[in-house]
């Protein structure tokens, strides 16, 4: 579980996050949603320690994340995995080398054990046999899956995904969402997903946090999304003209 309290962040005097407090629960897909510029990425970067908040606290279970020594931070980071928006795969390394990279850096495993673990992860993301390809030789969706395989290679307790569906077609997005959801359940990890994709919200949103202008304006589950009368949530959910037409039609049919 990750708990944040009173997170504020400003850049050059401009407030980006204003007093965000919420909890990301273990074994669930916790979503941070909102329009572009709402502060989602900044919040995610604060969660993983790439940015320091101006004020507030971040607790990983009972550990005060912002006051760790370098050694403690490194140990905690070995329990984290992150899937980046652009996958962030190292271009000069093959798929298997990308996935093995954290093991090469920090584990005492033998070469054989590392390769075994890499193959396990590749199998988990349905990329068996793609070991020797370079990132540029696989599709965007496959790159995301390699990114997920690298993120789980150390069997993390916390998984972070920044816009996992950006640049993917709807079908591939569903595959990635299902993968994130099943890995969360299988490893019983705390997953935090930053997205503005409504399909993801309705598919994997166990615990949803809506940000607007740096403020947390709504919290709930995917089941509660359609029931809520929160205006900001509704305007976000039904932002697409297609969904607006569907909603209008549904209201006409069931006034």
């Amino acid at each position: 579980m990750i708990r944040i309290e009173g997170i504020n962040k400003s850049f050059d005097g401009v407030d980006i996050l204003k007093g965000i407090s919420t909890t990301f629960e273990t074994g669930k897909c916790n979503l941070i949603i909102g329009r572009s510029g709402a502060g989602k990425t900044v919040l995610l970067k604060i969660l993983v320690g790439l940015l320091k908040p101006s004020s507030g606290t971040v607790f990983y279970d009972k550990t005060d994340f912002l006051n760790l020594s370098k050694k403690e931070l490194r140990q905690l980071r070995m329990q984290m995995g992150m899937l980046f928006q652009g996958s962030a795969l190292f271009d000069s390394m093959k798929v298997e080398e990308n996935i093995r990279f954290p093991l090469d850096m920090f584990s005492n495993m033998t070469r054989k054990e590392k390769n075994h673990r890499v193959n396990e992860c590749l199998e988990r993301v349905s990329l068996t046999g793609e070991n020797l390809k370079y990132p540029s030789e696989v599709s965007g969706g496959m790159q995301k899956r390699v990114g997920i395989a690298r993120a789980i290679v150390f069997k993390p307790k916390y998984l972070f995904c920044d816009e996992p569906n950006s640049g993917l077609d709807p079908k591939t997005s569903i595959v990635i969402d299902e993968l994130i959801d099943s890995i969360t359940e299988e490893y019983n990890i705390t997953t935090v997903v930053n997205t503005h994709d409504m399909n993801s919200v309705m598919q994997i949103g166990d615990n949803i946090n809506l940000l607007a202008d740096g403020t947390l304006v709504w919290k709930g589950t995917k089941e509660e999304v359609l029931e809520s009368e929160n205006e900001m949530l509704q305007s976000f959910v039904f932002a697409s003209p297609f969904l607006q037409r569907l909603k209008a039609r549904a209201e006409r049919a069931h006034p």
């Binding site: 993983v48 320690g49 790439l50 931070l73 490194r74 140990q75 980071r77 070995m78 984290m80 992150m82 980046f84 928006q85 652009g86 962030a88 190292f90 990279f101 954290p102 850096m105 920090f106 972070f160």
Partner: protein, 221 residues
Amino acid sequence: MYWKETVRQMHDIGIGSLLIVALISLFIGAVTALQFAYQLDGTLVPRYYIGYIVRDITIIEMAPTITALVLAGKVGSNMASEIGGMRQKEHLDAMDIMGVNTPGYIVMPKILGALVAIPLLVIIGAMISILGGYLASVPTGLISNEDYLRGLRSFFVPFNVTLMLIKAFVFSFLLTSVSCYQGFYVEGGSIELGKASTDAVVISDIMILIADYVIALIFTV
């Protein structure tokens, strides 16, 4: 220490720059010999001074300084672009989250690799430059083989070689650290990356020239 990465950097910087350094050194030596021969025309200065001047200009100034300026353009801009690209593609963030000491893994091998490879390139460059002077002056009949070799052996001060190596080490450190810094802290998009790459070269060149003056002041005045 990331030895594998350091050795890869040594290879990339050393072998990767050998051809351009050799080519530039060859012509600088040749031009130095030709122009000094031109200036000696009608004077009482012995012709064997051509070899002596080519040797000392090469060792004291041309080999370390020109090599470093050329490498600032080739290696420095490459380092700034590579690291800057990694910053923009979130590779450095990915490493940070994995717990990798990013400057230690990305920057340190480049600096150590350069500290080994560039002084070696400077030594090779100096030898090729002296060869260039020979090729430009002996086969063309400007000076005899014996005179050129006599010039090379005359008034030799061993400390000048030490001075060349001091310059090579200082310039290597300057050009790699400036370039890595420019790449590491790049922000924005492709325009900023291009600017960081250009700044890496310009700032490295200025720093090298200032350092060249300071070293000359300290060791030769």
